[in-house]
C-alpha cells in the first residue's frame, strides 16, 4: 500500500512538473508570437511562411495539453502529444547542434539576454521530461486497464 502510494505520488509530481513546464513555456510565446516565429525560422527546417503558423498554433497547443494533462477527460491524449512534441524538440535540437547553429531555442519565448543555446542542457532537460511523460503514460494505461477489468 505504502509502495503504491509512493509511486502514485511520483506520477502526480511528474504530471504537475510537465503541466507547469508546458504552461510556462506557452504563455510568453502566446504574448509575443512574432519573436517566437523568428526563433522557429532560425532552426532552418521550415520556411518563414510556415514559421508564422507554427508560432501561432504551437504555443496554444502547449497550453492546452499542459493543462489537459491534469484534466481527466483529455489527459491521456494530452500526455501522448506532450511525448510526441518532446521527441520533435529533441530531434530539432540535435539537428541544430549537428549543423552548428548558434541560435536561441525559443523554448520559453524570446529569452532575455539572447544568449546562445546550450544544446547539452536542452537535450538533458527534454530527455528528463520525456522520461516523466513515459512514467505518466504507463500509469494512465495501467489505470485504464484496471478500470476496464473492474
Amino acid at each position: 500500500m505504502g509502495a503504491i502510494s509512493q509511486k502514485s505520488l511520483v506520477v502526480l509530481i511528474a504530471r504537475l512538473v510537465l503541466a507547469g513546464v508546458f504552461v510556462m513555456a506557452a504563455l510568453p510565446k502566446i504574448q509575443d508570437p512574432g519573436a517566437f516565429a523568428t526563433s522557429v525560422a532560425a532552426f532552418r527546417v521550415i520556411g518563414p511562411g510556415l514559421s508564422g503558423w507554427v508560432a501561432l498554433l504551437l504555443p496554444w497547443l502547449e497550453l492546452i495539453i499542459g493543462l489537459g494533462i491534469l484534466i481527466p477527460a483529455i489527459r491521456r491524449t494530452s500526455c501522448a502529444l506532450i511525448g510526441l512534441l518532446l521527441l520533435l524538440f529533441i530531434a530539432l535540437h540535435t539537428s541544430a547542434w549537428v549543423r552548428g547553429l548558434d541560435i536561441n531555442c525559443g523554448c520559453f519565448g524570446a529569452e532575455t539576454g539572447e544568449v546562445s543555446t546550450d544544446y547539452r542542457w536542452l537535450l538533458l532537460r527534454n530527455g528528463l521530461l520525456l522520461a516523466a511523460t513515459v512514467l505518466v503514460l504507463r500509469q494512465d494505461r495501467r489505470n485504464n486497464h484496471s478500470a476496464l477489468r473492474s
Binding site: 504574448q31 532560425a42 497550453l63 548558434d102 536561441n104
Partner: protein, 137 residues
C-alpha cells in the same frame, strides 16, 4: 468514436479557438504577413542602397571564413581592437554603421549596436535583419 480521436478533437478545437483569439485580439501578426522590422533594424536591400560601414559581430573564426567585403570584426571578445579599427574609418568618412551577426535570431548584432550607440551617440547605427544568412542568400 474512439477515445483517443475524441480527445484529440477536443484538443484541436481548443487550440484553434486559442489561435483565433490571438489573431482577432491582435496578439499575433497574420502568419502570411511580411515580418516587420524591430526598432534599430535595417533590411539588407536598404543597407545595400546606402554607403554603409559594415561591422561583423560573429566569432573571429566565422569572420576569417567569410565576411562582407570591407567589414570590420567587432564582437564582445575583441571590443577594444574592433573600436580602434572602427574609429579612424568612421571619423574620416562618417556614414551609417550596420552590424550583423550569424542569423535572424542570434541577437549579438543588436547587443553590439546598442553598445555602439552609447560609445558613438552621433552615429547612425543599425543591426542587419537576417544577419549573415540574409547576405549569403
Amino acid at each position: 468514436m474512439p477515445r483517443f480521436l475524441r480527445e484529440f478533437c477536443i484538443i484541436a478545437i481548443l487550440t484553434s479557438i486559442g489561435a483565433a483569439f490571438s489573431l482577432f485580439s491582435d496578439l499575433a501578426p497574420l502568419p502570411w504577413a511580411e515580418p516587420g522590422l524591430e526598432p534599430g533594424e535595417i533590411r539588407l536591400v536598404d543597407a545595400r542602397a546606402l554607403e554603409v560601414l559594415w561591422l561583423d559581430a560573429r566569432s573571429e573564426a566565422d569572420y576569417e571564413a567569410a565576411h562582407i567585403p570591407k567589414a570590420i570584426l567587432l564582437n564582445e571578445d575583441n571590443w577594444d581592437d574592433g573600436i580602434v579599427e572602427l574609429m579612424p574609418e568612421w571619423l574620416t568618412n562618417p556614414r551609417p554603421i550596420v552590424v550583423y551577426c550569424g542569423s535572424e535570431s542570434c541577437g549579438t548584432s543588436k547587443r553590439i549596436a546598442e553598445r555602439l550607440r552609447e560609445a558613438l551617440p552621433d552615429a547612425e547605427i543599425y543591426s542587419l535583419k537576417g544577419g549573415w544568412d540574409a547576405w549569403v542568400q
